[in-house]
């Protein structure tokens, strides 16, 4: 573990190179930053922690963090339990389907398909049915999914425990599940976020891993709930029990062969075992073999979800009758025959303590917090802390976000926002009231990152090259314009105090005011010039219409009240309709609105 060497004279050059901006750097700040082995200036450090430990700065956050000090802010955010959260708590209570158990959700919000079948049957038999009521109920059936999406956005926008929320986002993505894999998944999502991920987001990795392994969401998503000992393998349970179970299975299958997958098409399913090794712990090059995958899958046979038909909640259930009772050998360790649920627990112990896991998790956290290609020395140090503290996530994160590498010039503004981060940061910067409808979540989906909508188990990308492409940039620019035009109720600038404050001011002051709020005051001379006067500094045509710029230099812009009909949310709109309608017939932006639209659509706002 060698100390990271810092280039002493990089800070000034780095700052100039990266943002081409000069700031009134105070000598004392510079000295303090250098004393702490940090390349970033004091101001940059404030912006940096706000862009990495939170989903984006709100109005006043810069001043707050500068006053309390960057290190005090980090220390505070690492102890979320001690931060009061008065705004979010009552808002979450309004989201009925976010707060219920899977069984309560299934009772209160039956699957839409089930209701549609009822409707179809009733219509066919000619019976009088209240089809309106059934349709309404079917629409309600989407709430378990909609409410958890809304809750995710709402918390990210409004919680004071921002670092915890960033880590909830990180772990939900690391242990990604797909919300519409089947009709049951929607009932598991809220519980997964509330009880599995959140309590462990800054806890011990082994606890998190165990909570995920026994969660209905993961057991369902990666099929372990139906993984059973292969035919011919010994299972646990008494012979009589096994015979009864076999007979019952045959009966069910005779009555409804379509249940073959659920009712016990006996056999090993390797899906969870493979992803557990490849994506959750060791990493693809973490040193395991195909035989390890099979052995791990055998260890987890019988780990399933209590079926809804049985009384009680959808809890974890170990079914010994489906557990492969033979001996297994995982990563060189022998699990002796005939043990049961301890097999899987021991596999999780082995994996959580494995050096490959320490490196894999440390690297991924460094990618989230530092840069797409984090320095190897930092990853090594963070991995060592992971090992030394037996997987204490808080300590690993602390190591990363207090490191010289975190505060290096290279890391500054080096990350590109995901669509979730983009939309949430816009909502936070504009100071919009938290959206209690699913519309903000739908906008995030339209930008390419639906909450719980990643089909593949690898989760959403953490790096820029996967998020930035032709279509993505177009959508992001249109998003900025639509927000400025007041088309998105969840992210409206209308309630933004700064709009009133800046109204009637000269345009260059307005530009600086907007840049301060949205870009942390960091704006390149070129960008500032374009926002101020709209002149294209490049000769030649552009992709746009050849209309003359509407705003002249030095013109005093005015900001009237937004048109009353600008926002007309339709709660029934899907993500597609949302995108289409939000962007239809956008008026030419005037004055302050225009500055906000340009700033939100600018390359600078895509970064954090």
């Amino acid at each position: 573990m060698s100390a990271h060497r810092i280039r002493r004279f990089a800070p000034i050059a780095g700052a100039l190179l990266l943002c081409a901006v000069t700031l009134p750097a105070q000598r004392a700040d510079m000295a303090a930053a250098q004393a702490a082995d940090r390349e970033q200036t004091a101001d940059q450090q404030v912006r940096h922690v706000l862009s990495r430990l939170t989903f984006g700065a709100r109005l006043g956050d810069y001043e707050r963090v500068r006053a309390m000090g960057v290190d005090a802010f980090i220390a505070q955010q690492l102890q979320p339990g001690k931060i009061p959260d008065p705004v979010v708590t009552p808002l979450l209570k309004e989201l009925d389907a976010y707060n219920k158990t899977p069984a309560e959700l299934r009772r209160d919000y039956p699957p839409p398909a089930q209701l549609q079948q009822q409707l179809a049957r009733a219509q066919q038999s000619g019976a009088q049915v209240d089809s309106q009521a059934l349709r309404r109920q079917a629409a309600e059936g989407r709430r378990p999914y909609a409410d958890i999406q809304t809750a995710r956005v709402l918390r990210a926008v409004a919680t004071e425990r921002q670092l915890e929320e960033v880590l909830v986002d990180f772990w939900l993505n690391h242990f990604s599940v797909f919300g519409t894999k089947n009709a049951q998944m929607r009932y598991y999502l809220a519980q997964y976020e509330r009880e599995v991920i959140r309590p462990n987001a800054l806890g011990k990795f082994r606890d998190l891993l165990g909570a995920v392994a026994t969660s209905p969401a993961m057991l369902t998503y990666l099929d372990n709930f139906q993984s059973t000992a292969d035919t011919g393998r010994p299972t646990l349970g008494r012979p009589m029990e096994r015979a009864i179970a076999d007979r019952r299975r045959q009966q069910v299958l005779r009555q409804n062969p379509a249940l073959a997958n659920v009712a016990g098409r006996r056999g090993l399913n390797e899906n969870y075992a493979r992803e557990l090794l490849e994506l959750h712990t060791l990493g693809v090059d973490g040193g395991y073999t195909q035989q390890d995958v099979i052995e791990v899958a055998r260890a987890f046979t019988g780990w399933t979800v209590r079926p809804p038909a049985l009384a009680g909640n959808d809890d974890f259930l170990f079914n010994p009758l489906n557990h492969d009772a033979g001996e297994k050998k995982v990563l060189g360790t022998t699990l002796r025959a005939g043990r049961g649920v301890d097999d899987g627990e021991q596999v999780l112990d082995l994996l959580a303590a494995h050096p490959s896991t320490a490196r894999f998790i440390a690297h991924k956290l460094a990618v989230r917090f530092v840069s797409d290609e984090p320095p190897a020395a930092l990853v090594e140090r963070a991995a060592a802390v992971f090992t030394k503290t037996k997987g204490d996530i808080r300590e690993v994160v602390r190591t990363i976000i207090t490191s010289p590498e975190f505060f290096s010039a290279d890391a500054y503004r080096a990350k590109v926002k995901s669509p979730f981060e983009l939309v949430v940061s816009a909502a936070r910067a504009t100071g919009a009231a938290p959206d209690r409808s699913p519309q903000t979540a739908q906008m995030i989906a339209a930008l390419g990152q639906p909450v719980f909508g990643r089909q593949t188990p690898d989760g959403w990308p953490e790096t820029a090259d996967e998020w930035i492409n032709t279509g993505a940039i177009l959508n992001r620019i249109n998003f900025g314009v639509a927000v400025a035009a007041g088309r998105l109720p969840g992210v409206s600038a209308r309630s933004w105090p700064l709009m009133q404050e800046l109204a009637g001011r000269p345009r260059d002051e307005q530009v600086d005011g907007v840049a301060r709020a949205l870009l942390g005051g960091e704006i390149s001379p070129e960008t500032r010039q374009i926002l101020v006067d709209g002149n294209n500094p490049l000769a030649g045509g552009t992709a746009s219409d050849d209309e003359p710029p509407a705003m002249g230099r030095g013109r005093r812009a005015t900001m009237g009240p937004p048109p009353r009909d600008a926002v007309r949310p339709d709660p029934q709109m899907g993500a597609q309709g949302q995108m289409t309608r939000a962007f239809q017939n956008l008026p030419p932006l005037q004055g302050l609105q225009q500055i906000v639209g340009l700033a939100l659509g600018s390359p600078e706002f895509q970064r954090r």
Partner: protein, 415 residues
């Protein structure tokens, strides 16, 4: 991926020195890929939800068919009952009556149905099966990219040279589908109208300026490319191309999207791979027979495809349309006059050079012992064989190993 970033940064670095980026980018690519494109186009259409192959291409000659489907079976062809019975193809198979528009293509010899085709995976999960059909790697969930994106990486028709445009691969969908995901650039759009900067002229100009100045990085580079793509589409103005040859697209989302794919082809924007999907095939309940739920879906599906082929006219010599669905449905109808998830399904291959007018694939039979796991149509053709053949024969791909690692295709002779 490295190359992509390099190009963006390289092109952009010179922009700030006053050079035109489109000129520059083309020069860079021209060095790599000197000659002209062949203009071949592949259009992939995905029926999401598992279409009931046995009622799409009806095996009326198989005596077990009607025993399995007493309520929803499609009656054998009969001269007096056009529209309510199967349309005879070869004395054994017939098309669902809603597919009459496709029968014309079959008679013209440019449409070939393939039966008992699909994924060898035994999964009956929509999610997994779509994943496998789009990644092209059945039973392997670790594949990160889609097989069409892997095709783009091999250059295909560009192998002997051409200039890839931003519109080389276009998906008419909200998001990039799994089949096109990967490191190669693709464009996903809801509609042609939506692929534009939604800002008034001067605002759009300013936004473009923001991306043309400043750092030479991925964000600026992609932004610059995007403004160029928008400009290119605007100049090509695909919407100016009217529907030709009296084709009539249904007024559905699917019909509209196929019409816009035709417009992109006519506008010569360099389209090589197009994708669209259509849902509503998961017919567990009251699926209907010659009329009803499935018949309505098939009507939209067939009319849209027939309009596309008619609209494109002679251009169909350079076009292949490939339809697919994640799996077929159970051979026996269920208790709700519908069908549950099954195994093998059917596909259509349509194009001017397709050796059509015959049903391809070995028919495995519907007797109990012939069915997969005693319940579903068995598989005799791996979907990768069809995809490989189209990529090689139509698009000129030399070696399909890059598309489907470890798979040895058995060509059907469809092209």
């Amino acid at each position: 991926m490295q190359r992509r970033i390099f190009l963006k940064q390289g092109a952009f670095a010179l922009v700030t020195m006053g050079l035109n980026p489109s000129f520059l980018r083309r020069t860079v690519l021209d060095l790599e890929l000197p000659a002209a494109a062949k203009g071949k186009v592949l259009i992939c259409l995905f029926q999401r939800g598992a279409a009931d192959a046995l009622n799409v291409v009806v095996p009326f000659g198989d005596r077990d068919y009607y025993a399995l489907r007493p309520r929803i079976g499609i009656a054998a062809p009969s001269r007096g009952a056009v529209g309510s019975t199967a349309i005879d193809l070869d004395g054994f198979f017939g098309l669902h009556p809603s597919l009459a528009p496709l029968h014309t293509l079959y008679r013209d010899g440019i449409l070939a149905p393939i039966h008992a085709v699909g994924s060898p995976s035994a999964t009956r999960s929509h999610f997994d099966a779509q994943d496998y059909m789009e990644s092209g790697t059945p039973d392997n969930k670790g594949t990160r990219d889609g097989w069409l994106n892997r095709y783009l990486a091999t250059h295909g028709t560009c192998e002997s040279g051409c200039t890839p445009t931003p519109f080389r691969a276009v998906s008419m969908t909200q998001q990039t589908p799994r089949i096109l995901q990967g490191p190669q650039e693709t464009v996903a759009m809801n509609s042609l109208e939506e692929f534009s900067v939604r800002a008034a002229g001067s605002d759009a100009q300013r936004l473009e300026s923001l991306y043309r100045t400043g750092r030479a990085d991925l964000v600026h580079g992609s932004g610059t490319e995007m403004f160029e793509a928008v400009k290119m589409l605007k100049a090509a103005n695909p919407q100016q191309y009217r529907v030709a040859n009296g084709a009539q697209y249904p007024n559905s989302q699917f019909g509209t999207r196929l019409r816009q794919i035709a417009q992109l082809i006519k506008a010569n924007v360099g389209l090589e791979v197009a994708f669209a999907d259509i849902g509503g095939w998961d017919t567990h309940v009251n699926q209907g027979g010659a009329t009803g739920q499935l018949a309505n879906r098939l009507g939209d599906f067939a009319q849209s495809i027939a309009a596309l082929t008619q609209d494109l006219g002679d251009r169909m010599d350079d076009v292949v349309i490939l339809t697919m669905s994640e799996f077929g449905r159970m051979a026996r109808e269920n208790g709700s006059a519908g069908t549950d998830h099954g195994h093998a399904g059917s596909m259509f291959v349509i194009g001017g050079k397709v050796q059509g007018g015959r049903v391809l694939g070995r028919w495995p039979g519907l007797a109990r012992e012939q069915l997969f796991e005693g319940r579903d149509l068995a598989l005799t053709t791996d979907f990768r064989s069809v995809f490989s053949e189209v990529a090689q024969t139509h698009l000129g791909l030399r070696d399909s190993a890059a598309l489907f690692p470890g798979f040895t295709p058995s060509p059907l002779g469809v092209l």
